[in-house]
Symmetry: C2
Subunit: 117 residues, 2 copies
DNA sequence: AAATTAGTTAAGTCATCGCTTGACTATTTG
DNA sequence: CAAATAGTCAAGCGATGACTTAACTAATTT
């Protein structure tokens, strides 16, 4: 029965924070040191270090020390876990949507928020 | 400068919980009612309802009431936000990896855990 | 060698999250 | 109509998360 990679939830958690997502965005353009990453954020360097540690443990980022600075880059292999999960599931979703489109239109679906009366 | 969709962080948060990820897995196979989703979990129905609400607000799941039961299906449009973000960024990552592969091999990168001495 | 730079760790604080229980609202079914 | 079914909401509780500051290490510069 359809099962997800043990690292997937951790990856999602790592990417669920806006600051960490912004870090991944920056690293998408180019590798950066810890302080280069920290510069634009209104936050202590220590906080950024912690975010990078979360990203690294999750498999979103790889780092390596060069002298006293630490270079950070995207962990493409780690990110592939997310990509693979998505592409694998997408196949199922498409099939379902074809079957259910008619029903959804007929029933005029409402979100839980704008409650059904 | 490379920016992410406003719903992305929320989507990641929704998918960061193992229970919610498991719910998405189940719904990947077939649409289900709230109690059908809840059945295999060792958790109150109320807890599952809360999880489904999180997934729906995030755009991971759509629901609609049929009588006294609520049908849940994957929100393929919402999930596309995640997919698109990933595929857009992947392009950048690949290029970087090509440039950095040599440096990484030479420097023998270490994780923050197994600390550099 | 002393001062600066880059990063790391630890401890503590405050907010949010995941869950529970209990009361309550619809919708079916007997 | 009464009882069961399916789901919802609210309050509360313990655990986790996102910071902070302060003290510290290691590499570079001067």
């Amino acid at each position: 029965m359809l099962n997800f990679h043990p690292k997937l939830a951790g990856l999602m958690t790592a990417l669920s924070d806006p600051t960490r997502l912004a870090i991944v965005e920056k690293l998408s353009l180019t590798p950066l040191s810890v302080s280069e990453i920290a510069a634009p954020f209104d936050m202590s360097l220590a906080a950024i270090v912690q975010h990078i540690q979360v990203l690294e443990k999750a498999g979103a980022v790889r780092t390596f020390k060069q002298g006293r600075t630490r270079r950070c880059i995207i962990d493409t292999a780690g990110m592939a876990v997310l990509k693979n999960w998505l592409t694998d599931r997408e196949r199922f979703w498409q099939g379902q949507f074809d079957n259910l489109e008619a029903i959804l239109d007929a029933e005029a679906p409402k979100s839980i928020e704008e409650r059904d009366t």
